[in-house]
Symmetry: D3
Subunit: 262 residues, 6 copies
């Protein structure tokens, strides 16, 4: 089976960077896959992406070595299993708030006897190789989102669930849940403390941790705190940031034919 390069990098003590796909297009996915991200996540929760388009995006990512991940819209076995069958090498599941929810999520990602994933890895066979059924339980990453005060309260119970590979912090939801303004790259002390509490707990349990970030400086700081991987922005945000820069830079354009100092 094709190796999961994220597990390899983390085992070697390297932090990985994750790109984020919210635009429903296999072409933009392939463009993103050329940039050097270690992994790319198709976001079916807040991204504008549904299953049928997602598959073509996983195919596009598969033309490169970037590890394909999927964030599912919700903790629902149908879409979790369909995403794995489509060749996702890891599932990010939103809003895991209790041990039971985490167990349910992990079970949906694992073949018996470790879980109840149904058998039919139609494209995973192609992407992973013919021995996928034998090794999938060891390669597919289960990544639970910790993003509410409820989850904070159940942190150790969640982290103790067997088969949980990693947690992922959504800072916007976490802040919102704590009564603070949503957003990336939180500087609000209580939210920062919560984030650091989460990553520290994950480390104690031998669980990997990831954080969604808005800028490299913050992402590097977070890695310094212990995060194993960080996402930076998204395809749509990258496009917007550079587009806004360009449009702003054109504000002082001359009138046609004005010539001059340009």
């Amino acid at each position: 089976m094709r190796e999961n390069l994220l597990k390899k990098a983390w085992a070697e003590g390297r932090a990985t960077i994750n790109g984020w796909l919210a635009i429903p297009s296999s072409f933009s996915a392939e463009v993103m896959a050329q940039m050097g991200w270690d992994s790319l996540t198709v976001d079916m929760q807040h991204g504008v992406v549904d299953y049928q388009t997602m598959v073509t995006m996983l195919q596009a990512v598969s033309t490169t070595a970037a590890v394909p991940l999927v964030r599912v819209p919700w903790r629902e076995p149908g879409i979790i299993m369909k995403s794995l069958d489509a060749g996702a090498y890891g599932i990010i599941c939103p809003m895991i708030n209790s041990r039971a929810e985490c167990e349910e999520f992990v079970a949906a990602c694992r073949y018996p006897p470790k879980g109840n994933r149904s058998f039919g890895p139609i494209r995973a066979f192609i992407y992973g190789g013919p021995d996928y059924p034998v090794h999938a339980n060891d390669h597919v990453l289960t990544i639970a989102m910790i993003e509410t005060t409820e989850a904070l309260a159940a942190l150790d119970e969640i982290l103790a669930v067997p088969g949980l590979d990693a947690i992922y912090v959504g800072p916007a939801d976490l802040a919102n849940s704590m009564g603070k303004p949503p957003g990336f790259d939180q500087e609000e002390p209580s939210v920062v403390e919560a984030i650091r509490t989460i990553v520290a707990a994950a480390k104690r349990h031998g669980v990997r941790a990831g954080l969604h970030c808005g800028a490299p400086a913050y992402a590097k700081k977070a890695i310094g705190w212990g995060f194993d991987f960080t996402t930076l922005l998204s395809d749509a945000r990258l496009m917007t940031m550079k587009g806004q820069e360009i449009v702003a830079a054109m504000r002082d354009r001359p009138a046609p034919g004005a010539g001059g100092t340009y």
Copy 2:
């Protein structure tokens, strides 16, 4: 009929900036339409976009005041007329190399007696208004690409075609055709001279001129030479440039938990 804001701006002596859509997605088109471009061109020639997707992109652009343009794949009446029926307020036609080609192109954009455009403005009625048929000939922009040595040789004949509103310079093809390396923002003297010759000729004939550029500095220089509008990059290029910046900025990331100066 809804006014063509490009014609208005140019009449007022203002240069406009054009965004470029190569990603086949109505969502990325709508994101681009939020950035402040005066117009947005769906590129059906070198962009990864076909007619059916293009219509949804025009719809997305129509949620804003940005003027929707389409670059057709080739000088073929079927796709020119379909694009206009879909509500494009201007057509950029590649590879216009002679007076005859230019006449054929312009005719496909104009209702009789000025041309042979077939009647059926199915979505143009919605976008333009119920009096679209009466005024379309005055509002829809015909924009011929001048991008070969052959076109350079026929420049005055092309520019003299009645009903031609603007020309558009593709610097990559023009350079290629002149035996120089293709690319935006040409500094190769012979290509620069050709570009300046084209814009000067256009001005003489009362025809507007546009240029595809890669950076604001060059775009402003080109406007100084007389160009009425410039395109800057494309959705995919914007995304790539910012993505590469971010990935590069993450190269010196620490190991997880290294903490330190961040």
Copy 3:
């Protein structure tokens, strides 16, 4: 944030009319959006529409002032939140039969502390404006369908759920549930009584009410009973009704060349 014009109309004592989109096409959606409906609902339950197509339909509706609503297939947080993120200004949720179900539905539509909606309004930011996160809880309509005898029995409990903006009566399901033939514009006394009971209860609780109708006469009668909004038919039904009229009118066509009295 862009105002929700339905709330405004209702506050001003005006009944609104809602169009219904069952055809999976952004073009037919845009055609429907030109007719003067106050709101348009993309029906993901019984309409032939899935999420990816729905987004393009919301974009098409967004070219006009019609308020975009979505009926979700079921009370499932994933699709409710995705629809809101896509810019729906209200969610119609089928089969709300108890207080608990209503609370769960409303929670999925509200950011903390009023609910548990996850943060990521990717297209809602574009449609609603940059201050969407601050005001969304006040603008997004929660509309619970009351359409079973079970719901009738729990009516007051359902209507008392904080944050519930409106209820919507599906007369076909309601009749079916009562053992009567399904269909719009019910004249069956027991069903009419149930409908009037529902709208009266809604009024008592300060909750708005809507009804799916098949003809203007019935819709106006229902508004007279107290309904704040009525849906009339659907895109597919409108097309069918007029198409059947035309085909019927052609039945007595002559033979080719028969000439005669025409």
Copy 4:
């Protein structure tokens, strides 16, 4: 090979009615196919439909006995042949203005030795049957649009082209070309005369004739003049007409709870 029911009806002296598909959706196509039209035309010229969607629409039509036709965007062999391979039982080709254009069109629809259609009837085999290659030249309808003054001037030459089955009059383009306002159901005397001239000439040459109409009364009048088939409106127009009726009928709706005479 499945019989072409249009040829049968015409041979029996019956006029047929044709529905028109401009909405890009296999579902709306199937809804239209339920109404009793003798044939349905997927309009790839002025309709919002591209090849890939068109195929699904032909499939939807194939669930019924309605004869599937396609109007191609332009006289281009590639799309004519692709449409036939997809199972169209007739091609309506716009803007046939000369004998040469008509010959080129007919040739693209006929296998050698009668034409140069390339062999590969991938879905036509399914729709028509395994003997499609042997009989296709006899069953597939070639329908040339006569819609310009240029075509009027070449009428007899066009009608004399061997293999031409029918002509189709586009009254909007015809009027436009004659300097009259475009539109269906022309009452402008010169346009009416031109239309009657065309149908009379077709009859002389043993060529069938069709007309695009806006109302049954006019369509029946046209059949009386000799037309063998008439189109009435389109899916989008049907929807719009009934929708506008409904919205208008709701204008005098009461305020919620006003009760009263309803």
Copy 5:
């Protein structure tokens, strides 16, 4: 209402064969529908198919007499009801492990008072006929998958659920659940015994039984055990098997121009 030919065949003591659609394309579905299968199942669980594509596949199947079935991704009322509304004449539901789960599944497929299916058979009206609402409860097949040890333990309780028409054995999941290697055409004695136990129990309860098979020999053996229908492979597997045969047969191809014994 259009008869369900599977029920008819089974009542007449005939076993039926089912084709399996995993490729997301209405064209491949139509090709499959030409081969003589009694029924065709669109697999939304392990197939690469989502709702919007599935509808076009049901349309393609509807051009023939093959009975259209859908396997849903999970026991979720929304997608079960949407599939039925789209015209599926039977639902295969994965992972039914208890009486309660079976009751919930059956209820979602039945109109009141036998269940809680919501009313709105938008395309089922077209496929089934105008009396669909009256007869749907009698024609639509409910097919529960028995594929875990948990289900084996609850076999009689599951089979006793009123309204359950058939069970379907997924041998790969069943084997996996029993700690045996997954795969079709099991020869592992304990799995074979479990399969035979299931079919025998179904017969006792008057419930039909189906099995997913990989080869005709095994399928015929299974029918001999009592199975009423068997699936054989899938569209993608058929393509792969023949493709691999062809590629293998070309391994000993000569060098170009080698001529020789061919």
Copy 6:
């Protein structure tokens, strides 16, 4: 630039085998790409595939080493260039009947000064590498179809066109054009002679030759005659052949429960 493995194989004296994609699906394309074909051709002429779908199919093929080719619908520069920009490593162009047509075709595939291909290799950059513009003229295969008596008569003139890499024989069209029944694997002596004449002429001109075949035995025979590559059937035909085998093998199935010799 990524090497064109077909050119390499041919230079090494090896014949290659080509798979054929007519189903419009990136998933079926990826399944086909797993079987060991040296190249895969997306057939936009007789296949049910349009540009937008074709791009996703090229992406799917790009996950493997199979060389991606495209057959365009017709000799039209727009689609030829779009296909190359999408990353096709070769274009098969139908119906090349004269030197002029062949020159036009080749020119559309070559950047100046060897042709007039427009510059904008948006996905070809990704697939081929950043130096694609420099080397594309040497790597992209131009493959002209010889399939009419007209082409036979102009054979040497066509084969002498500079830049023509290969010819491809469509035996169905060739036979049809010669007044013989269309079909693969021709045994009709005059057609066989024509085919052998073509391949011999190609060899004389140093041009590669390919043939569309229906069975390995014939394909190997053709290679023996000198063909450098052969296509075998298509995705849809492979599926059909195996499906028909399976359905036929099930004809003698027992009645349910008949038990017996199985």
